[in-house]
Symmetry: C2
Subunit: 248 residues, 2 copies
């Protein structure tokens, strides 16, 4: 048996391609399986990345005995269902962001992982950027004193396409789940879980949030002031304000 | 009788000095009266600006027949009471910001002005900066398309002094009334009155808001995301986001 971690990929979309490419650079990772609901797509993907096992269903991938951990790369609305399938089949999971489309789903996923004693993580890649590692070190060193406030935004202007994932409520569309999650994750990294949340959003003609403003309150009275949009270009910046200075 | 507008100043603090200096540059303004609760301060101020009428009480100033309009320059918590005194004495009023310390006070002041058919305005000087006049022209020309979002902040780090105006609830202390009003005023200039307001604030040891995050929602779904602080240095910036571009 290989000493490498044996990976499977669930879903064959563009993010799955990027992930597979990334895995190929890791010395401790081996991509051994891929699963799709479409046999042809599974085969195409497997050929592209030289993957030995290709599965014509997610169930088949989840029960593949070669696989240690599965990367879930399906659309937002399927993350919970697909992750649950993998966990219940005894596989560790890294699930693409957004982890779930609501708190109930997230709670169920975490409870399943705990019950099965399996590793489960959101693929929030921004947490692991060298910049973020450096930022955490700077904050740990108290470089800007006690951190009091954070502002962060992530927004872009897309054309309205009611058929697209981004504008379809059933597919987990909207600004918060697509890009707002990055700002919430940054706040969570810096301040932990909020104790209070207030927000206003503009729900557009397709019913998804086209823009939103969010204020998160925390135990030590820190505030995160966030905004996100899919119909408005925002500066895409973050500013961390401390008692001794700011990091931008 | 002079063709110039005859001004009175109620209060003799530092902002009153700045206002009096400003008035001296206006060809249509004549500063004819000043009122203080302290005779000596009234005389000192009047001497400094060559003001003929000095009053040892606000009541006396308010009933000065030489005066057309009174500039109210007292601490926040007195704005309503002083403005009402002037209006009820038949004087127009420009009241220093914040106009009032709560909505009830502001409503009463406006109702009084309407009942007396008198001019009443908040001395929100930032509305009249050349920059703001230019900004309004740019927005009127649709330079950045339809305006969708605004972010604005105003915050600084003061040392805690429980005795000071800034940290005393009774004197209308706190971030929102001291500097947050500028961000709210900017939003009001761009979007008009909000239809929804959500906010979280940190009330510090003296009971005033040391920092706050505010989201204002508007009739056309525009959002203003604001923050303010008196114990944290913020960038002091505003960004207006439209469908075709941004103004920073």
């Amino acid at each position: 048996m290989s000493q490498k971690i044996q990976w499977g990929i669930l879903g064959t979309g563009s993010i799955a391609h990027k992930f597979a490419t990334g895995l190929s650079f890791l010395s401790d990772a081996e991509l051994v399986s891929v699963g799709s609901r479409n046999t042809e797509r599974a085969n195409q993907f497997a050929d592209g990345f030289d993957i030995p096992n290709r599965h014509p269903s997610y169930e088949s991938l989840a029960s593949d005995p070669n696989v240690d951990i599965i990367y879930v790369a399906t659309p937002h609305n399927l993350h919970c269902e697909n992750t649950q399938l993998c966990l219940e089949s005894g596989k560790a999971v890294i699930c693409e962001k957004p982890f779930a489309i609501n708190a109930d789903q997230a709670t169920r996923m975490i409870e399943s992982a705990q019950a099965e004693k399996l590793f489960l993580m959101e693929a929030m890649w921004t947490r692991y950027l060298p910049l973020m590692v450096e930022l955490q070190a700077m904050l740990a060193e108290n470089l800007i004193g006690e951190v009091r406030m954070l502002t962060a935004d992530f927004g872009f202007r897309a054309g309205i396409n009611p058929e697209s994932r981004l504008f379809t409520p059933k597919l987990g569309g909207g600004a918060l789940l697509d890009v707002g999650v990055y700002t919430v994750s940054l706040s969570s990294m810096i301040f932990g879980s909020p104790t209070q949340v207030v927000s206003l959003a503009h729900l557009g003609e397709t019913g998804v949030d086209e823009q939103a403003g969010i204020v998160l309150g925390h135990a030590q009275n820190e505030l995160a002031i966030l905004h996100t949009a899919i119909r408005t270009n925002t500066p895409q910046e973050a500013i961390i304000m401390g008692t001794k200075g700011r990091i931008r």
